[in-house]
Each structure stands twice: as structure tokens, then as C-alpha cells.
């Protein structure tokens, strides 16, 4: 009689290898996810930036954290898209009828989002450096920034997973991306919240993206991080746990 072992890590590695091949064979996803934020960065720095008062001499320094978060938000639609295709094509059915660790297929997609974001974010930071971005941050601060961005990716990909798994059409699967794209715009990513009317300002100051933006900005400018990192962390853990549970439920229902 066979012993049933759980091969979660090995299975997840196979799944990661699979979807990384998908990415490398359709580089357009990475290009889209990288170029759009770079275009926004150019637009904001060289077109609108002159009129924006942030209290910092170098607007690109102010802007970069928001651009990084937008790049992560842009990648989310692709996660839903890839998951939806797997469901549609019956690939998940095949995996689910095999002795494969239950959540490995989902983790494969989530880890792929992490790896592809590392690639696109690196390119964006390099372009920002060319545009005059400078940071006094040391290695530890950069690692903390990487950690915050990874957390943001995890939060959003698990939300995207729910959409990809429960959508009935491909448009529905990608629709999740729109509200997520909007959140960074109504935050302190581009302009200080103090310039906004009180209602919008209240929203902007209390929504999770602002905490992420402020934490990254403080780390990159060598300022004390304060509470923001803890606010960002609690939002992340709360939403990730909830989204993970919902995504797994949608996955099992689909399976």
C-alpha cells in the first residue's frame, strides 16, 4: 500500500518552474508591467512635476515609492489572467486529480508574481537613478523596501487569485486590476495628502497604499519610518490571510 506523502515544496517548485517558463516565453507581460510605470514616472517628473509642490527638491525622490507600488499593482491583472486560463483549459483539473499538494498550483503563480516583480522593479529603479534619483539608504533599508514590496505583491496576488479562480469570463478575471490601479492614485504617492479636500484626504491617509508609500519613502530618504511600517504590515497580514482563505475556497470549489 502506498504511503501518501505531502510534497508541498517540491510540487511548488515544479509549478514555479512552469509559470516562470510562461513568463520568459511571453516577455510582453514583464515589458508592459515595466514600461507603463516608467512612462508614468517620466510624465510626472518632466511634465507635471514642475507644478507639484512636495516640499522636496527632487521630485523623482518623492515619486519613486508610488511608481514601484503601481508597477506591482499593474502585474496583478496578469496573475488573474494566468489563473483563469489554467482553470479554463482544464490544467487545474488535471493537477487536482493527481497526488499533488493542494495549494502548490496557486503558490506557483504567487511566487512567479514575486520573481517577475523583482525583475521589473529593478529596471524601474535603474531608470529612476538615471533620472536623478538619489538615496542615502543603506543595505538594510533597501532590504526593508524589498520586503515591503514583496508583501505588497503577496497581498495583491492573493486578491487577484480570488478573481482569477471565481471569474466566469476573461474580462471578469482582469477586472480586479482596475480598482487596484486606482488606489495608488488616491494616496500620497504623487502629491502630499495635505493638498487634498478633507473627504478625499481622510480616505487617502487611511487607506493601506499610503502606509506602504510612506514607509518606503521614509526608508529611501533615510528618515525614521515611524508607525507606517507597522500599519503596512498589519494591513498586509490581515488582507493576505483573508484573501488566502477566500482564494483557497474558490480553488477547491473550482476543483
Amino acid at each position: 500500500m502506498e504511503t501518501i506523502k505531502n510534497h508541498f515544496f517540491m510540487d511548488t517548485r515544479v509549478m514555479l518552474g512552469r509559470s516562470m517558463r510562461h513568463i520568459f516565453r511571453s516577455m510582453d507581460t514583464i515589458i508592459t508591467v515595466t514600461i507603463m510605470p516608467i512612462a508614468m514616472m517620466l510624465l510626472f517628473v518632466y511634465v507635471l512635476g514642475g507644478a507639484i509642490q512636495t516640499g522636496t527638491p527632487n521630485y523623482v525622490n518623492y515619486l519613486l515609492p508610488g511608481i514601484l507600488l503601481i508597477a506591482v499593482a499593474n502585474s496583478v491583472g496578469y496573475v488573474s489572467f494566468r489563473l483563469f486560463t489554467d482553470v479554463q483549459r482544464g490544467i487545474f483539473e488535471r493537477f487536482n486529480s493527481m497526488p499533488v499538494a493542494r495549494s502548490a498550483a496557486l503558490w506557483g503563480h504567487v511566487l512567479t508574481a514575486l520573481v517577475s516583480n523583482v525583475m521589473s522593479l529593478t529596471v524601474i529603479v535603474l531608470v529612476a537613478l538615471i533620472m536623478g534619483f538619489r538615496s542615502p539608504a543603506g543595505v538594510l533599508s533597501w532590504l526593508a523596501v524589498a520586503g515591503i514590496l514583496a508583501m505588497f505583491t503577496l497581498v495583491l496576488t492573493w486578491i487577484a487569485a480570488i478573481a482569477g479562480l471565481s471569474a466566469k469570463t476573461i474580462d471578469g478575471a482582469s477586472a480586479i486590476a482596475y480598482p487596484i490601479h486606482f488606489l495608488p492614485l488616491i494616496s500620497s504617492a504623487f502629491v502630499p495628502t495635505s493638498s487634498m479636500p478633507s473627504g478625499v484626504r481622510a480616505f487617502a491617509e487611511n487607506q493601506p497604499v499610503t502606509a506602504f508609500v510612506e514607509a518606503i519613502r521614509a526608508l529611501l530618504s533615510g528618515q525614521p519610518v515611524g508607525n507606517n511600517i507597522w500599519v503596512a504590515l498589519s494591513w498586509s497580514i490581515g488582507i493576505t490571510v483573508l484573501a488566502y482563505i477566500l482564494a483557497m475556497r474558490a480553488y477547491k470549489r473550482r476543483g
Binding site: 501518501i4 517540491m10 512552469r18 516565453r25 488535471r94 486529480s97 497526488p99 476543483g255
Partner: protein, 255 residues
């Protein structure tokens, strides 16, 4: 458990979708090492039975065991001992044929995945196309790859849900040959089909699913006895379009 005479055993299986009953008490057994064909029109519930037996769906009531394992209480053991070829060729189109097979071998935690893949590619006449993306394959090649993926690991029971739907006559015969070979080597084959001829050609036992129940179950000879005895009539036998098609194709390939 494995010495059980029956590879599949189903009693009183019931399943409804939102109060619409699909299965209303299905009973049958499949002998180990035999080919069992489940016939039924579209929407009769064939796929529902396949999904329940492959642990993708839970029945509302009744019992089902595969290789002696209950599908509800021992799903991992069931998955370990079966493989499924679903209704739509569930191959990863972005991966090559070889990569698809290696991925499945890895997910089944087998040693030497590369050798296993090479062997199956050879047997299924896919060696030349092995390193091309599956997206470039014809319908027949894709189906062959799909079935090859199900044979990775030599599962004791294989489920084929309408394996020849949408295939041209040549590809269909190829699939038939593969199925016969499998059964010849001791594997139990559970197959659903809408084609009476397919069941006639392949199956040791044929069951007909109608209105949620198995209305007939027996060998071809037994089924024939249910009908009035054959009458002898003299009719000029015209070649069927399939005969004509195959004759022309064969002439071409032999020319």
C-alpha cells in the same frame, strides 16, 4: 485492497446541481484490467460520474470506491492510483510536449522524469515534435500528448472522458490502439463516449446512462440480446464516407 476484483465500484450515486438532479442512483462495477465504456447523450451526466470518481467533485449521496479506496474518505490514495484525461486536452500550450511530460512525472514524484518523457514521446510518435510548443500541435497530436501525460507513472486505473471527440478518423483509431494496448497490459480503462462504434470497438462492458440512471449494463453480446433477433435482409452495402476517406488517405500515404 489491491486484490479486489473490482477496480471501480459505485452504489447509489446521487448528484444534483442547484436542485436539478443529474445522477439519481447510479450503480455499476468495473472489473480490474477491463475496458468499461459509459455511453450517454450530451448532458446525461457522464462527466459528473468521472469527476466524482477522480475526486474532483463530491457526490450528494451514495458510495464510490476506486482501487478499494473511498473517493470521499481516501481521496489522496485514489489520486495516487488513477489518472484522468479530461474532455478538453489539458496540456500546457506554452510548454513543449517534452516539458509537459517531465512536469507531470515530477508532480507524480517519479525518478528519472527525462527518461520517462522520452519513452512516452517515442511511443506516441511525438519525438519529432517533442521540443515544439504544444500550441503548435494539431488536434490529434495534442490529444496524444494529453493521453501520454495520463500514462506517466502507469496508474492502475485511467479515466478517459470522451477521448476521441473532435478527432479525425485516423487520430481516433490511433487513440483506440493506445487504449487497447493499455488494457492489454493490465490497466483498467474507464471511458465515456457518445460514439456507439467506439464502445463496440473497445469495451469489454458497456453501460448506458440515461435520465440519471444506468439503464443497461453488460457485454456487447448481452446488449444485443436485449433487442429483437437479427433479420436477414439483402442490401447493397455502400461504402461509408469514413471508408472512402480512409481508403484515399491510405492510397496517398502508400503512393
Amino acid at each position: 485492497m489491491s486484490h479486489n476484483e473490482f477496480a471501480i465500484s459505485v452504489q447509489g450515486l446521487k448528484k444534483s446541481y442547484k436542485n436539478v438532479p443529474v445522477l439519481e442512483g447510479v450503480d455499476f462495477q468495473v472489473k480490474a484490467g477491463s475496458i468499461f465504456a459509459l455511453l450517454g447523450s450530451n448532458g446525461a451526466g457522464k462527466t459528473t460520474i468521472v469527476k466524482i470518481l477522480t475526486t474532483l467533485l463530491k457526490q450528494d449521496s451514495g458510495h464510490a470506491t476506486v482501487n478499494g479506496f473511498d473517493v470521499i474518505s481516501k481521496p489522496d490514495n485514489v489520486r495516487q492510483s488513477i489518472s484522468l484525461t479530461g474532455q478538453f486536452a489539458a496540456v500546457d500550450e506554452i510548454l513543449t510536449g517534452r516539458e509537459n511530460l517531465i512536469m507531470i512525472a515530477r508532480l507524480r514524484h517519479l525518478n528519472h522524469p527525462h527518461e520517462i518523457a522520452a519513452g512516452l514521446l517515442e511511443r506516441f510518435g511525438l519525438t519529432d515534435a517533442a521540443d515544439r510548443r504544444a500550441a503548435t500541435y494539431s488536434g490529434g497530436m495534442r490529444r496524444r500528448l494529453d493521453i501520454a501525460m495520463s500514462l506517466v507513472g502507469n496508474s492502475r486505473v485511467i479515466f478517459l472522458d470522451e477521448p476521441t471527440t473532435g478527432l479525425d478518423p485516423e487520430a481516433r483509431m490511433e487513440v483506440w490502439k493506445i487504449i487497447k494496448e493499455r488494457a492489454g497490459s493490465g490497466t483498467t480503462v474507464f471511458l465515456t463516449t457518445q460514439y456507439l462504434e467506439e464502445a463496440e470497438q473497445l469495451a469489454d462492458k458497456i453501460a448506458i446512462l440515461h435520465n440519471g440512471r444506468i439503464i443497461v449494463n453488460g457485454t456487447l453480446a448481452e446488449l444485443k440480446q436485449l433487442f429483437p433477433p437479427a433479420k436477414v435482409e439483402y442490401i447493397e452495402k455502400q461504402p461509408s464516407l469514413e471508408d472512402i476517406f480512409l481508403t484515399i488517405i491510405n492510397k496517398k500515404t502508400h503512393a
